[in-house]
Amino acid sequence: MTSARNSLLVIVGLLLLWQLAYWAIGDLALRPPLETVVKAGALIASEGFLSHLAETLRAFALALAIAVVVGVALGFSLGMNRLAGEVGEPLLVSFYSLPKITLYPIVLLIFGIGMPSKVAFGAIHGIMPIAIFTLGALRNLPPVLGRTSRALRLTRWQSAWALLFPAARPEIFTGLRLGFSLTLIGTLLGEMFASQRGIGFLLMQAIGLHDTDLIMVLTLLIVSFAITASMALLAIDKQLRHGSS
């Protein structure tokens, strides 16, 4: 359990840095960790917060589901054909690295303000890393798998489902970890710009009002959620890799 202990040490280190930063910068723009945690408890207990939280979680879950399904499907359809992969990969990579925030006026014009916009915004952030990792995973598979599927006369569906997917699963899962984080930030950004509800909306409001308390609390909640989820996914990732080797 040294990894758990190390993670704990990193968390303590981060809290320490935060406290030091507070002492260095002062009340102007920061709040100390302890005060933020106490305020976070108060915010969670406060009326109406849970409905914002539920809204964000719903949007995030939907966006993640879309990102995973479309990303994996895209990765497979490009990864199972050499020419399609060569044609598609640079396109995927360049779309991945565009500042997607510039697209928000267009997303807004298409989907309007509200749930569909946030989901779309989250999904377009998450699809590309998942697709790129899936494509890479399929390309790195040993060629013997392709020969096996030909020898067994599997159809494309059968070979994708029974052979390629299990073999590529650990790599795909790594892409999924990154996709998870990016979908979360995409959903939150969507809420900041294109919504009247949700955590991102609360954050944008707090930014507008210079409400440092609220900014700190919300950031802490988002970061804790992201770190917890990332650790859980990493643990599953490790298990998948050990199980497969």
Partner: protein, 250 residues
């Protein structure tokens, strides 16, 4: 030209043509997206008019500063962290989670610390970009085989000399990945920060046009950002590919 490149260009042309036709016959409403040809003409006119020159130079120089800072600091941090195996392992889940942190939330704090002006936007771009460089530097150093380290020791090289003659040539392509990501993240960070609040810059111009329903300015500007970011990223992508292919030949 390679067949894949031809097919790719054909695909892009087909998509643009389809958009053009769909917008011309009105399947896609004009306020959602004007035809691509009009966007290009609009962009050309906008660039000629000089109305956005200041915003463009401002934004691009902010991106350049944020990116170069992130590369230098990120490589130094990566080298430092990689020396301690346990620390690098322990920080790995935090690096993945980092991208879920809405860095823009710290914007008001940045303004309080650095004042109103360009500095907060540069810091946001830097914060987004630096972690990608750190992660890829650690990754690059991890991939140096033990035998190369031994070679350096056998020749009695000083650390700097070993870095220049052995480690850097070997780790180059992976470092290039970090540099490439730093470029795109500093684009995302700086322009995103300009979106939220600033008085100058491309991001600000886009929001301003959006709020005033000036589609004939907004779309050309979005197109401009996408073209510039796409071109710069494409260059770095090709550079990384070349480094990697040179490696596999040797």
């Amino acid at each position: 030209m390679k067949p894949a490149t031809t097919v790719r260009l054909g695909l892009i042309t087909a998509i643009v043509l389809a958009l053009e036709i769909l917008t011309r016959i009105g399947v896609i409403a004009r306020f959602v997206a004007p035809p691509p040809s009009e966007m290009m003409v609009g962009l050309w006119r906008l660039l000629l008019s000089g109305r956005v020159h200041l915003a463009i130079t401002q934004t691009l120089s902010k991106i350049a500063i944020a990116c170069s800072l992130a590369i230098v600091v990120g490589i130094l941090m990566g080298v430092a962290i990689q020396r301690f195996r346990g620390l690098a392992d322990a920080m790995s889940p935090f690096f993945t989670a980092y991208y879920a942190v809405p860095v823009y939330a710290f914007y008001p704090m940045m303004i309080a610390i650095f004042g109103i002006g360009e500095a907060p936007q540069i810091v946001i771009g830097f914060m987004l970009a630096v972690v990608a460089v750190v992660v890829n530097t650690i990754n690059a150093l991890d991939r140096i085989p033990r035998v190369l380290r031994k070679t350096a020791a056998v020749y009695g090289m000083r650390p700097l000399e070993a870095a220049r003659r052995i480690y850097l040539p070997h780790a180059g392509p992976y470092l290039a990945t970090g540099v490439k990501l730093a470029v795109s993240y500093s684009f995302i960070g700086v322009i995103g920060a300009e979106f939220i609040m600033s008085r100058i810059g491309i991001g600000h111009e886009i929001v301003f046009a959006y709020n005033n329903f000036e589609n004939e300015i907004m779309y050309p500007l979005i197109l401009f950002v996408l073209l510039v970011a796409g071109a710069v990223n494409g260059l770095f992508y090709a550079w990384e590919k070349r480094l990697l292919s040179r490696r596999s030949r040797s």
